[in-house]
């Protein structure tokens, strides 16, 4: 296994553990306001400092990990279910079904997705569920194309013909034979997609359309830090680093998976 992929995997493992054990790790309640201690620089008692309401940044970031990872995985999970379902139906049945589904994919790809997400969230209102659903609904197209391409070649294999002769129906062939064999590239895309979804959430929260305070997320810690950038650099630096490292880790893991699943691509 590739070393960078291992690094990505370890970082993601630490993040997930941190998110699960947040109440044990965080030294303070993330929403506990203490005006007397507003904007304290990183110190032994507050290792990442506090914000303008005196909340402990480290605690807020640990809880923010939960939000970011949940949004990342659930949003991409929604995208994967839609993408794999539509893509495999298009690939297997071909003809008119394929044309209709793939033209729909083309149409969806025409919209700049971040602005589409912004517009939809502005209309239906921010909130963690809305964000996950909207990101999921606007990011499945790549996966649909990937699985369709795989299935176009897999469906010509003899084992599919053999299954037909044994009496297998279309759904059995797609679910039992085609998707398990064609899921590799989608898996890679899934991991890379989590990174993208975390970035989108951070962006939305930064613009005030994402997770609403006082619930902490990396994006809204950044947004709140923007006002006091001149005096409190730690409010910007740490959440920014967290986003950077997380996205990097998911990308490294995804690239590594791509190489591992594609023997032709590796040396």
């Amino acid at each position: 296994m590739n070393k960078l992929m291992l690094f990505g995997g370890i970082v993601i493992f630490i993040l997930i553990t941190g998110a699960v054990l947040a109440p044990l790790i965080a030294p303070y309640d993330p929403t506990d306001i203490n005006i007397e201690k507003a904007l304290v620089a990183p110190s032994v008692r507050h290792i990442l400092g506090t914000d303008q309401l005196g909340r402990d940044i480290f605690s807020r970031m640990v809880y923010g990990t939960r939000i970011s990872l949940t949004i990342g995985f659930v949003a991409v999970g929604i995208a994967a279910v839609i993408g794999v379902a539509l893509g495999s139906i298009a690939g297997y049945f071909g003809g008119r079904v394929d044309s209709v589904i793939m033209r729909f994919v083309d149409i969806m790809l025409c919209f700049p997705s971040f602005f589409l997400i912004l517009a939809v969230v502005a209309i239906i209102g921010p909130g963690i569920y809305n964000i996950m659903i909207v990101i999921g609904l606007t990011s499945w197209m790549g996966m649909a194309r990937l699985i369709r391409a795989e299935i176009l070649s897999l469906k010509e294999r003899d084992y599919v013909a053999a299954a037909k002769v044994l009496g297998a129906g279309s759904s059995r062939i797609i679910i039992k034979h085609l998707i398990p064999n064609g899921i590799g590239p989608v898996l890679v895309s899934f991991v890379l997609g989590v990174a993208a979804a975390i970035l989108v959430e951070a962006g939305l929260s930064f613009l005030g359309l994402g997770i609403q305070p006082p619930t902490p997320s990396w994006g809204n810690i950044l947004m709140e830090g923007k006002a006091t950038l001149g005096v409190a650099w730690w409010l910007i630096l740490f959440p920014g680093l967290a986003i950077l490292i997380t996205v990097l880790a998911f990308n490294l893991l995804g690239e590594g998976l791509r190489d591992a699943l594609n023997p032709k691509g590796s040396e």
Partner: protein
């Protein structure tokens, strides 16, 4: 000796330790001789050939020993020397001529390139030389071939082009790695003839690698037999073919499919009832071209097919690639729909199929037991019923019940084909379509599978449709033989008549070009 190899060892580093592909072999090639290197897949014959050209490289591969050619050790020669030797002194042709040609360059340009790489001449002279070479390899319409892209050429033409490139500089040694395996029998004969003629004309030696003793019989002067990285027997052709010393050589020779020397007397199948009747069956495919996918023509894969398949008997369906035999098999079993005509089947539900390539016919992500039992699972069989069916069918095809949890890649080619047969048998069919079931297997395994199929037929009273390009194999399986060409059945007769008194000229041609087994005891 033109070339000698001493204590040649080749090993590959893999995740789980080292694999020794060649374990210390010694051999020599004389000038002007054809040395046949025979072995099954995995015996190390191809890596041996590649090592002679020093085409094995990389940190995962270790080549040890000495290869002497013209006073130089090829394993220690500098890269510059090797580049000069490749092509001009030693040349090579491969099994798959399509992947050895660049698909986006015209064939002529590629030959020009090969000529220009070693000779300092003008482009015009190179082109003239290319035409000369094409003539040498007996290509008559040189203009057309010169201006064609590789995909427009037939398999035989492509191999001729590869040979033209290989001999362009008059090498002293030509290494031919299964050059005819991917070709139809009628084309094979021509290529072998060509190699023999060029050998005489150019005074070169040929190292001919093959798994087929029939071909060795036709072409070689001396023979090396390889098994698991070692040379088990070597000697003159006549010696080895008539009195092999090693058990393994005997086994290989014995497994070579042969045409029956005399018309074998078999029961005349006319008395049996027909299980399938095919009447006036037609099927064509449209050929689409260009970005608008306009229909440019039709290919007729089945033309007015009339057949009767008799219960408990085997119908052999013989033809070369593109003859429509596989299409007919798929029509019979319902994987394709006919344009017109009818297929009347007495038991339409109980037909199953076994495919040629046991690597693509088994789902790589399913366990053996799930593959074998898929038909019963679909039919909603209960747990105990499936369990007993699995034991029964694995016993029938001689597979171990203990291997039921393994995945397809953990089995050998022959075992995989047994799994495919077990999968078909698990639903208790009456009729089996066997689409080239042994073509991708080594001869010894081939024989085992054919024997198994015969046993099963007797035991279960199965009816077979046996599709094959090889008349020799069909001779041992079929009661009746249908010869197909361009979608038509040109001759349909009981086995003994086909082999003893072929009527159609095409049948005669097939028989004469595939008849290399004769003379091997």
């Amino acid at each position: 000796m033109l070339l000698t190899a001493k204590n040649l060892k080749i090993s590959f580093k893999q995740d789980e330790g080292c694999v020794e592909a060649v374990r210390g072999i010694d051999f020599g090639i004389n000038a002007n001789e054809v040395l046949g290197l025979v072995g099954e897949s995995g015996s190390g014959k191809t890596v041996t050939a590649l090592s002679l050209m020093r085409l094995l490289s990389g940190k995962n591969c270790a080549v040890d020993g000495a290869i002497n050619f013209g006073g130089k050790n090829l394993l220690t020669a500098s890269n510059k020397e090797i580049l000069r030797i490749r092509g001009s002194d030693i040349a090579m042709i491969f099994q798959e001529p399509f992947t050895s040609l660049n698909p986006v360059l015209r064939v002529g340009e590629q030959i020009d390139e090969a000529v220009l790489a070693h000779k300092k001449i003008s482009k015009k002279d190179a082109k003239a030389e290319t035409f000369c070479l094409l003539e040498k390899v007996k290509i008559s319409d040189q203009e057309r071939i010169y201006d064609s892209y590789p995909h427009l050429l037939s398999g035989g033409e492509r191999q001729r082009v590869m040979i033209a490139m290989a001999v362009s500089l008059g090498p002293r040694l030509l290494i031919a790695d299964e050059p005819t395996t991917a070709l139809d029998v009628t084309i094979q004969a021509g290529i072998l003839e060509l190699i023999l003629n060029l050998k005489k004309e150019l005074n070169m030696a040929v190292l001919f690698i093959t798994h087929d003793f029939g071909i060795v019989n036709k072409i070689a002067d001396r023979i090396l037999v390889m098994k698991e990285g070692r040379i088990v027997e070597s000697g003159n052709k006549a010696e080895i073919l008539s009195s092999p010393k090693e058990e393994y050589t005997k086994k290989l020779l014995d497994a070579v499919p042969k045409l029956p020397a005399q018309a074998p007397a078999g029961p005349v199948p006319s008395g049996c009832p027909a299980v399938i009747e095919v009447k006036h069956l037609n099927k064509s495919f449209s050929v689409e071209k260009g970005i608008f996918q306009k229909e440019k023509g039709r290919v007729y894969a089945s033309r007015n097919i009339n057949l009767e398949i008799k219960e408990g008997k085997t119908l052999g369906l013989v033809g070369e690639s593109g003859s429509g035999k596989t299409t007919l098999g798929k029509l019979l079993i319902g994987l394709l729909k006919a344009d017109s005509g009818e297929i009347k089947s007495r038991t339409p539900e109980s037909m199953q199929i076994v495919f040629q390539d046991p690597y693509s016919s088994l789902d790589p992500r399913m366990r053996m037991q799930d593959i074998v039992l898929e038909g019963l699972t679909i039919r909603g069989a209960g747990r105990s019923e499936r369990e007993s069916a699995l034991r029964e069918v694995l016993f029938k095809v001689h597979l171990s019940y203990n291997d039921r949890l393994k995945y397809p890649h953990q089995f050998s080619g022959g075992e995989r084909q047994r799994i495919a047969i077990a999968r078909a048998l698990a639903v208790k069919p009456k009729i089996l379509i066997l689409d080239e079931p042994v073509s991708s297997l080594d001869v010894i395994i081939q024989k085992e599978i054919l024997t198994l199929l015969k046993e099963l037929q007797k035991e279960l009273f199965l009816t077979y449709v046996f599709i094959s390009h090889d008349l020799r194999v069909v001779a041992h399986m079929a009661d009746e033989v249908a010869v197909m060409k361009d979608g038509e059945i040109v001759e349909l007769a009981p086995r003994q008549d086909i082999y003893a008194h072929p009527q159609h000229p095409y049948t005669k041609k097939l028989l004469s070009s595939g008849d290399w087994g004769r003379g091997i005891s």
